[in-house]
């Protein structure tokens, strides 16, 4: 089994997430999901199906209440909060629907933020941020403020921030939800390119045509996960 363990970046088995409301709410029920390294997977489903809860568990922002979750072979349940924060910092690149860029800091400074909680020195930080921006095609916008950029460009900055530390997984929450169709296509092309360089991409979306670009698609319905393609 160790060989296959190394191949899978994410391995959920029997994962459940129960919220302690009264009555208790089961947002995730017995989820089994294995994501191989280098895969591009889309998680689709209607709102309220448990997509966001699954994203939070996958992103180590929340913990499952039952089952096991191995991230890159590490049992997440065994980590304390600070180790979990370290895992987020190094293992996961987040891309959000609303970009989450800091309006008063330049594009390259926004990208450099990715390094802040990694205890890295400043030497080479700007160069690595510049390389990440070149990779998303924004090498000419480094000193701009995000407010001067279009929506597609802002999302590219966010993607550059997410990939700067070479994470194990790029975790995207409705990455094209705020973009028009042309921009959406170009962002999906970018994901395609990053995926071909070996990056594992997990994308949560409710748009089926966006999900269709991924190599694999799974569907959440009422907290349960089913393979859909």
């Amino acid at each position: 089994m160790p060989e296959s363990l190394r191949d899978s970046v994410i391995e959920l088995s029997g994962v459940g997430r129960r919220f302690g409301t009264d009555p208790p709410l089961d947002a995730l029920i017995d989820v089994d999901l294995t994501i191989k390294r280098g895969q591009w997977i889309a998680i689709v489903g209607p709102s309220g199906s448990g997509k966001s809860t699954l994203l939070n568990v996958l992103g180590c922002l929340d913990r499952q209440t039952s089952g096991t979750f191995l991230f890159d072979g590490v049992d997440v349940a065994a980590l304390n909060d600070r180790q979990l924060a370290g895992l987020r910092s190094r293992g996961i690149g987040f891309v959000f629907q609303s970009f989450h860029l800091m309006a008063h800091r330049s594009v390259i400074e926004n990208v450099m933020l990715a390094d802040v909680y990694r205890r890295n020195t400043w030497s080479g930080r700007r160069e690595r941020a510049a390389a990440a921006l070149e990779q998303v095609g924004l090498g000419h916008r480094m000193e701009f403020l995000p407010t001067k950029l279009s929506g597609g460009e802002r999302q590219r900055v966010a993607i550059a921030r997410a990939v700067m530390g070479a994470p194990s997984v790029l975790l995207c929450d409705e990455p094209t939800g705020n973009l028009d169709s042309v921009t959406t296509a170009s962002i999906l092309d970018l994901f395609d390119g990053l995926n071909q360089q070996g990056l594992t991409v997990v994308m949560i979306t409710h748009e089926s045509d966006v999900a269709a670009r991924a190599h694999r698609s799974v569907r959440m319905v009422d907290g349960r996960l089913t393979e859909s393609a």
């Binding site: 600070r82 924060a85 190094r90 989450h100 008063h104 990715a114 921030r161 990056l199």
Partner: protein
Amino acid sequence: MMSFKRGPSDPNPLVAPSGLTAKDLGNEALAGLFARPGRMVLTVFGTVIGIAALVATLGLSLTAGNRILGRFDELAATEIVVSVKPGPNGPIPGALPWDAADRIARLNGVVAAGNLSVVDVKGVLTRTSQVRDPSGQTAFSLTVEAASPGLFQAIRSELRSGRLPDEGHSARGDRVAVLGPGAALRLGIADVTQQPAIAIGDNRYVVIGILNDVARQPDALGAIIIPEGTARNDFALSGPDKVVIETKIGAATLIAQQAPLALRPDDPAVIKVAAPPEPKRVKDNVQGDLDVLFLLLGGVSLLVGAIGIANVTLVSVIERTGEIGLRRAIGASRWHIAQQFLLESAAMGFVGGIVGASLGTLVVISVSFYQTWTPVMEPAIPLIAPLVGAVIGLVSGLYPALRAARLEPVDALRSGT
């Protein structure tokens, strides 16, 4: 091209805790502050006023205390007059030795000392010539004083013309006199170049000098002053009435203790000493009532400033919820979030302390300049003030930082921007 393939030789760094270097922490906090510079300036304002009020109060009370000490320094704090306590049958003649001034002058801390006595002339009048002028007064009843040579320095006399008598005049009993300006005016003598003479009773005296002013013993202004030896010969002066002493600054208390022993080692209790009050006591009295009100005002402003910092930091936490969520997602722990907000509020307090201490110092200097006082300041105060400001900022930031640290990243990320 970047690669996202993890090599087999990579140590697995995933489980290492996230971290935040001091440089990154400082950079993030400063960037957070300067994102809204106008708001930062307004927030700091309360602390500035509070610290400025405290520094100005402490500085001004020190300055005012120094000013009062300074006024005493001028004359009174350096003056001692030694005389004899009256016995049961009135003044005791000859209780002070003839060399009293010399004995006092030998004490360390004495600048000048001189004997001064009022001469009993038995009612004889003083006049300038033998001519009897029926239309005007030619003879006056004037005070005659006997002085040892050191007296003129001890009372800080200024000469208008002529010279002062010396040891020789006194030793030989020369009939010379110095006139106070009032006496000179009444006798009609304005100048000593013609060697004018006056007659006290039947004895004639050469006027060798006219005084312009004296700083002490103003009786001398209207008197005729003759050498002590001359007074012994002509008027049977039995001993000095008093010794006038000028001391160095700060020596008055000591000299006042030593003088009776120096003059009458056999019976020091007979000597009466008039010395200035302890200058320190004067200073303490003045300082007490000045401070309290202003210190209270400064404290209230500081409190208001602290509440302002707390308030604005709290608003900023709420506004930056999305940023906090992002930071948590990219690896910040709760403690990292708290650290950043604490540092931001402490930095505001620190800057407020620096600006406030500078303003307070300027106030002390301006008021001193306007009042022509010498500004006095405890040098530690402007150095401590920024630290006080930083602590106030830190305390103000505690609650907002706690709120920020408690935010759930999931909720924070959903709240937009």
